[in-house]
């Protein structure tokens, strides 16, 4: 039997045939008469769970249970827009005779994720800040295409005919500046993916550029976004109506209305039940609502405070580090607001203004 909490209908977002109901939480004081919903740390602590469901090199899935949508969403937003990364920002073109023109080439290079720990670098305060070894990484891209001697005559495969027929992200060569050689010795800066095609070349074409990478955030440009996607969905629920069981002869059809594994059918009795461990696999296609014969048999819902997060890392951070980074950013923001609030509170004091980071 699933934990009772999932059957707390107050926490359900109703998923109906043509609409979604009860999307907002109601556990705040004053909504339910004669109930105390004031915020309580202990209760919050008890309800809060974070559980990793799957972790791979590039992505993580975890459950975040017991928080409000605003908190879960804040992490998602911060992951997309405010966790800093390092990307190429300025491209100095000495020579580019490839088919891709300078501006587009620069844009493509900018989108290449780099494996640099943002903690090692400072953010430029303004656009025109002097480039230093603390805030700028320098790469060199120098590729020329040539005909491969003794290439087989009958082939049309460019990789056999030419040397460097493609400019790849692996061609980006780090040029250490100042103290960088020591600081970044462990993990020399390079693209995380070495097989990104930046342009194709043919004999006689050449690319020679100097690239300056800086620290930035995703809201400034999508290239600084550390994640390919960071999103969540709510835990799906399939609630069978005990009053109206699924007709036996339709059990298989009923099963097929859901994602594989969600519905179990007893091979003997053809009785239908929900595999509560696998409900998370349900894609909420609402297919069951399409068949009139199942009307009233089942109710779909989602749990409002049970977030199934999915984060795909693209860049320096291993996926498990992304949420802590987001929390760190959030804490820094809270700290700023706290300071500002405190300043406001004892406003006689000459602490001066608190500089707010742009929100």
């Amino acid at each position: 039997m699933p934990p009772a909490i999932t059957y707390d209908s107050r926490k359900h977002v109703g998923v109906h045939a043509e609409r979604v109901s009860h999307v907002s939480s109601t556990n705040f004081p004053g909504h339910h008469p004669h109930e105390d919903h004031s915020w309580d740390l202990e209760r919050f602590k008890k309800g809060l769970t974070v559980k990793i469901e799957r972790l791979s090199n590039r992505s993580i899935e975890f459950d975040l249970v017991g928080v409000d949508a605003s908190i879960a969403n804040a992490y998602r937003r911060i992951l997309i827009a405010e966790v800093p990364t390092i990307c190429v920002e300025r491209v100095y073109v000495w020579d580019n005779t490839s088919v891709v023109v300078d501006e587009v080439f620069a844009q493509r290079i900018g989108l290449v994720p780099l494996n640099v720990d943002p903690a090692l670098m400072d953010m430029k305060q303004t656009q025109n800040d002097q480039a230093t070894d603390r805030n700028t990484l320098v790469f060199r891209l120098q590729v020329a295409c040539e005909r491969r001697k003794n290439a087989p005559k009958d082939t049309t495969d460019p990789s056999k005919l030419y040397i460097n027929h493609e400019v790849l992200s692996s061609h980006l060569k780090w040029v250490p500046q100042g103290e960088q050689e020591i600081v970044m010795a462990e993990n020399p800066p390079a693209p995380t993916n070495l097989n990104i095609v930046l342009t194709k070349l043919r004999p006689g074409q050449e690319v020679d550029m100097e690239l300056h990478a800086v620290k930035g955030v995703g809201k400034d440009h999508a290239k600084f976004c550390p994640v390919a996607t960071a999103s969540y969905r709510l835990l799906p629920l399939v609630i069978l109506n005990p009053e109206k069981p699924v007709p036996r002869e339709l059990a298989e059809k009923f099963q097929e209305c859901f994602s594989p594994g969600v519905i179990r059918v007893d091979p003997r009795t053809k009785a239908v039940s929900v595999d509560s461990k696998k409900t998370r696999k349900e894609t909420m296609s609402r297919e069951v609502y399409r068949h009139p014969e199942f009307e009233g048999c089942v109710q779909l819902a989602r749990v409002r405070d049970h977030f199934l997060f999915n984060i795909e890392s693209e860049g320096f951070y291993p996926p498990q580090r992304l949420l802590p980074e987001a929390i760190a950013v959030m804490r820094a923001k809270i700290a700023t607001i706290k300071r500002a609030a405190e300043t406001l509170l004892n406003n006689g004091d000459s602490l001066g203004d608190v500089e707010m980071a742009d929100v």
Partner: protein, 1139 residues
């Protein structure tokens, strides 16, 4: 169970009765994939076959005919001299530069160097030199611009690799000319058919008239009418002052007997006889009984315009000549045998009589079968004939001039004279094509705007231009008839592709599988018809069972068995005994069989059905698939045939195989060929409201995308390119056939159909900022800037100079990209105001006196500087020579633009919208997979537009994305919605395509499901950057001192009459005064209170006093008005009063 078995046995029994190896219960085998005939057709003919075929016909056939008709040049001075053209042919394009070693030239070089892609016209001449006859082959008389991909073009028959070496796009359709570097198209012109009788009735005036425009090969055109006037019938023609009573006309044409006249016109029909009798009476009343009397009657009314002063000919001779050569000139009169012309006039009369009796017997001018399309070949043929005649006239006078000289030192050789004839023919062609003015005095032709610059905005716009048909009809007249969609356009002209507004319905486009015929010689056709049993015409041609047989509108005989005749005729055509483009049909109303072999008829291929079975079978298609058979084989084997509009209307055509019945004659190859190339891009067009498809046809031409494989080598005035074009998720067969999947113009955007933020009202779109960062909608704008480095007649020349230094020895900022050769470096960034070509011109360039020392002349700067408000980059610099040895410099400047607020986008369903807001990714809604939309579209765009096709496109696109396949949205077919829904369900999505989204702002689920999936979006060329404009202060017009007008002149924004009315109504007088005078053209004048005239410096020149002068402020335009009035002898006086 037993009964069922029995029944099965019964069936089995029935199955044994075989017919052509098939049992009764066997399903009729369907011809699978018969649409493959379409690519086979296009492979043979190409997309613009009509232009190319027409040009080929001109170059291979018509030009020889023209020369044959004008092949002799004689001299008035020396009767023994003659020069004869025995042959003519057009060579291949070559380089005209004299010192060139490699004479081969490519069209692309012509585009870049601003020269003409042309080939020499070579003739073989025979002429007398002294007492000998000399023959000279390959004499060049001029150059003909060559149509790309025609017979004479170097691109024809080349494969992709060869084309790539010539920097030419394999998908480019050709069919246009390159003249002085610009690509010019001769649009197809629609006209009423020539040499055919058209009967019209005017019910209001009660007039019935039959008209016939005669056109002979000489190009002479005249229109003859047979019309009613007060119940009687007259023949009317421009060359006769007065309407000729029809009986007089017929008598003049040699039919003297009233009985015969009656038989030839009214036949045996009593009603017609009664209606006609009045005409016989009239002739008698006028005292015309014999042919001579009739000729005299007409002759005294013929307009004589004779230049040659000779003895006055008697009136009957004038009449005879007019009747023989001017009236109905297309009907041949051989040795003054007027019989066929008389019958033609009689037929016209009969048609009038028929229409008088029954209004329904008139013709429909708008019927496509009554139209002929005039193509490049015909226009060029006319032009060539004119130029060739002038050339010969010039040659003759030049020869005469030489021969006139009494004593010549050496023997006269006409060849030398010919060499000095100049480039009259070449220049004539180039001028006509580059200006579009076809003014041929000789043929009374005065047409402007025949050619257009090929629009290279996108691949589709170029293609769309090649299939365009323009009508001769005036745009301003408000009649609906010619603009309306004609049922006979079915399959011939695209029902969707027409512009909106004034040219609506007048400019049309060809459907995908059409062909326009070229002339086929009619002599053999007539002979064939006679062999098939057509009898000669007697007196009685309107018997109850006789059918008149016409070839190209002229009667050649009669037949009593029209159906048998037509069937036999068709059988011979299917056997390939004569051209497949000869049409034949029976007109039961007129009891006539019409054979048409003239050029300009639209026709299209169709599968022949015999005995209820299509002749094309699965095996044939299999052969086609293997490449063992081509479309021509199908034609040759009589499996398919071309039907023109008239013949189509005489056939019974099944749309699908299942519709075939016993009387079916043909089967459509594929229903979607009813649409043209441009409308073929629309997925599921049969689900859209029809105007939406029309809108998309207009917008598809403005979409930014790829324009050709050679786009990066082109230097066009303005070139829009997409950075990341994608082929659409939902394709159509047309898209694959025309190559839109290889040269696309758009991107598959993930669209959420929902409202968001309120910045999406009125069709505005919301864009995802991250998508834009990653390259969605990014485009490049390349602009050409060209200049000539001239040499002047006085020996001076322009020059390029390096950047000048300022007093500190530094180069100025605006010259910093100019290199030592005076040109900006490729790849340099050009800021507004920067100089990129530092040209200098001599100060005395226009001074024509030769000064000798060119180096010593003073020079002034004439630099080219960058005007756009946004920086660009030098993309290319080209230095070359033009045909007349001027140095040509072209600089291509590129801007890369990402979409911004106000840029215009459109889906493929006529749903355009501007970008209303750019939203950060984190604020965008997302679905369970974490997918953000690229674009949010407001659902209010759907109910009133009814573009259901767009919804299905989304569904099919989503299914395609999930299954990893491209889906088809071909018209009248395509992927079915049910299948798409099934794919969605299989992948765990809602069958309707609606996803549950979470708001990116609140983090809560949205309360409605959102229609979510990919739709192909086009970025249109209208971008805010090119349009935004504001001014505080700026330039003023010199004459009125008011602010200039228009963005290009940095003009002011007009406060117009209506705005002025608002201010007046509101009472904001001071604002009014400020806007209309103070901020505009405020001017202080001195006016005299005494005389009311304007003076200056406090002095009235009229009163010669300064006593009563007053200063006042008026608009300068008012002052100007006063002065202009005074110049016209009107005295405006200012009466001043203190307010």
């Amino acid at each position: 169970m037993a009964t069922i078995v029995e029944e099965e046995n019964d069936w089995e029994h029935a199955n044994h009765t075989n017919w052509r190896g098939l049992g009764l219960a066997d399903p009729i085998k369907k011809v699978e994939d018969k649409w493959l005939l379409l690519p086979a057709f296009l492979k043979i003919k190409g997309l613009v076959k009509q232009h190319i075929d027409s040009f080929n016909y001109f170059v291979d056939v018509d030009i020889k005919n023209i020369v044959r008709a004008n092949n002799k040049v004689t001299s008035d001075v020396d009767p023994r001299f003659w020069l004869k053209y025995t042959d003519i042919h057009v060579g291949f394009p070559d380089r005209t530069d004299l010192d060139a070693i490699d004479k081969s030239i490519t069209p692309h070089e012509c585009r870049l160097r601003d020269i003409t892609y042309s080939a020499p016209i070579l003739v073989t001449i025979q002429y007398t030199r002294g007492k000998n006859v000399v023959r000279r082959p390959n004499v060049n008389i001029g150059r003909l611009p060559i149509m790309l991909r025609s017979n004479k073009c170097v691109l024809t028959g080349r494969n992709e690799a060869q084309l790539a070496r010539m920097t030419e796009c394999p998908l480019d359709p050709g069919g246009y000319f390159v003249v002085k570097g610009t690509e010019k198209v001769i649009l197809v012109q629609e006209q009423l058919s020539k040499n055919r009788i058209i009967v019209e009735t005017d019910t209001v005036k009660g007039i019935v008239q039959a008209s016939c425009t005669s056109s002979t090969h000489g190009g002479l055109k005249s229109k003859t009418y047979v019309a009613t006037k007060k119940g009687k019938i007259y023949l009317r023609h421009n060359c006769i002052h007065e309407d000729v009573p029809i009986v007089i006309a017929l008598k003049a044409l040699g039919i003297q007997s009233d009985k015969e006249i009656l038989l030839l016109t009214a036949g045996n029909t009593e009603a017609y006889k009664i209606a006609f009798s009045a005409n016989l009476e009239e002739a008698a009343k006028l005292g015309v009984f014999t042919r001579h009397q009739a000729l005299e009657w007409i002759g005294s009314r013929v307009k004589v315009n004779r230049k040659v002063v000779g003895p006055r000919r008697p009136a009957w001779e004038e009449a005879l000549e007019a009747l023989a050569t001017i009236i109905l000139a297309h009907v041949p009169v051989i040795c003054l045998d007027f019989r066929s012309k008389a019958i033609f006039v009689a037929t016209m009369t009969r048609r009038v009589l028929m229409a008088m009796d029954d209004e329904k017997m008139d013709d429909d001018r708008d019927y496509v079968g009554n139209k002929r399309l005039e193509l490049a070949g015909q226009l060029l043929a006319l032009l060539f004939e004119d130029l060739f005649k002038t050339f010969n006239a010039n040659l003759k006078s030049a020869i005469d001039k030489v021969l006139k000289k009494p004593s010549r030192t050496n023997e006269f050789d006409a060849f030398n004279t010919m060499q000095f004839q100049g480039d009259h023919i070449t220049a004539g062609f180039v001028r006509a094509i580059s200006t579009g003015n076809w003014s041929l005095k000789r043929f009374k032709m005065e047409r402007a705007g025949v050619t257009h610059v090929l629009s290279r905005l996108s691949f589709i716009s170029a293609l769309g231009m090649m299939t365009r048909i323009s009508s001769q009809f005036e745009k301003t007249r408000k009649v609906s008839g010619p603009r309306a969609l004609q049922p006979s356009q079915w399959g011939m002209l695209c029902p969707s592709d027409t512009p909106e507004g004034e040219a609506c319905g007048l400019v049309k486009n060809l459907a995908l599988m059409t062909h326009i015929t070229t002339d086929v010689e009619e002599g053999p056709i007539i002979r064939l018809a006679l062999m098939l049993g057509v009898e000669a015409t007697g007196t009685e041609i309107y018997g109850p069972h006789t059918f008149v047989v016409n070839v190209n509108g002229t009667i050649i005989g009669l037949t009593r068995y029209p159906m048998r005749f037509v069937t036999n005729f068709r059988r011979l055509r299917r056997a390939g005994r004569f051209s497949e483009f000869v049409g034949i049909y029976v007109n039961h109303h007129h009891h006539a069989v019409h054979i048409a072999s003239d050029g300009g008829r639209i026709c299209r291929p169709m599968i022949i059905v015999e005995n209820g079975r299509p002749r094309v079978t699965g095996e044939h298609i299999a052969q086609l698939k293997q490449g063992a058979a081509s479309f021509d084989d199908f034609l040759r084997n009589g499996l398919v045939e071309y039907l023109d509009v008239n013949e189509e209307n005489d056939s019974y055509i099944a749309l699908y195989e299942s519709d075939i019945v016993a009387t079916t004659t043909h089967l459509e190859i594929e229903p979607f060929t009813i649409l043209g190339a441009v409308a073929g891009l629309i997925p599921y067009p049969h689900h859209n409201q029809s105007p939406r498809n029309t809108y998309q046809c207009a917008m598809g031409k403005q979409a930014i995308g790829a324009i050709g494989y050679n786009q990066l080598n082109r230097i066009d005035t303005l070139l829009y390119l997409s950075v990341y074009p994608q082929q659409p998720m939902v394709k159509t067969k047309t898209i694959e056939l025309i190559g839109y999947d290889r040269l696309p113009a758009g991107q598959n955007a993930t669209v959420a159909v929902m409202s968001y933020s309120g910045y999406d009202i009125e069709d505005a779109l919301i864009q995802n900022k991250a998508s834009l960062d990653r390259g969605y909608g990014r485009c490049q704008v390349l602009r050409k800037n060209a200049t000539l480095i001239r040499k002047y007649p006085n020996g001076t020349f322009d020059r390029l100079a390096d950047a000048p230094l300022d007093e500190n020895g530094q180069t100025q900022k605006k010259y910093d990209i100019v290199q030592l050769d005076g040109l900006a470096g490729v790849g340099e960034r050009v800021d507004p105001g920067d100089v990129y070509v530092n040209k200098q011109t001599p100060t005395n360039a226009n001074d024509n006196t030769f000064s000798g020392q060119a180096a010593a002349v003073p020079y002034k700067n004439a630099p080219m500087s960058y005007k756009s408000p946004v920086a660009g980059y030098i993309d290319k610099v080209m230095v070359s020579d033009t045909e007349n040895d001027q140095t040509l410099i072209k600089v291509l400047i590129r801007q890369t633009r990402r979409p911004e607020l106000g840029d215009k986008f459109s889906s493929r369903h006529g749903q355009k919208g501007v970008c209303g807001l750019i939203v950060n990714q984190e604020d965008m809604p997302f679905n369970d997979q974490g997918i953000n939309p690229d674009t949010i579209m407001n659902p209010h765009g759907f109910p009133s537009r009814m573009t259901v096709g767009k919804m299905i496109e989304l569904l099919a696109g989503k299914a395609g994305v999930l299954s990893g396949k491209l889906q088809y949205g071909t018209a009248f077919g395509g992927s079915k919605v049910e299948d798409m829904s099934r794919i969605l369900i299989e992948h765990g999505f809602n069958y309707a395509g609606k996803d549950m989204l979470t708001s990116g702002i609140t983090g809560e689920a949205l309360e409605a499901y959102v229609y979510f999936g990919p739709i192909y979006y086009q970025k249109l060329k209208h971008m805010v950057m090119d349009k935004m404009h504001a001014r505080a202060r700026g330039p003023r017009a010199t004459l009125t001192r008011q602010p200039t007008e228009g963005r290009s002149r940095e003009g002011g924004l007009r406060l117009g009459e209506m705005e002025r009315d608002c201010l007046i109504g509101y009472g904001a007088t001071q604002l009014l005064l400020e806007r209309l005078m103070i901020s505009s053209d405020k001017f202080e004048v001195n006016a005299c209170q005494e005389c009311g005239l304007m003076g200056y410096n406090g002095w009235c020149t009229y009163c010669k006093s300064s006593k009563k002068m007053a200063k006042l402020t008026i608009p300068y335009a008012a002052k100007l008005l006063f002065q202009e009035l005074m110049a016209m002898n009107v005295v405006p006086r200012l009466i001043l009063d203190d307010a």
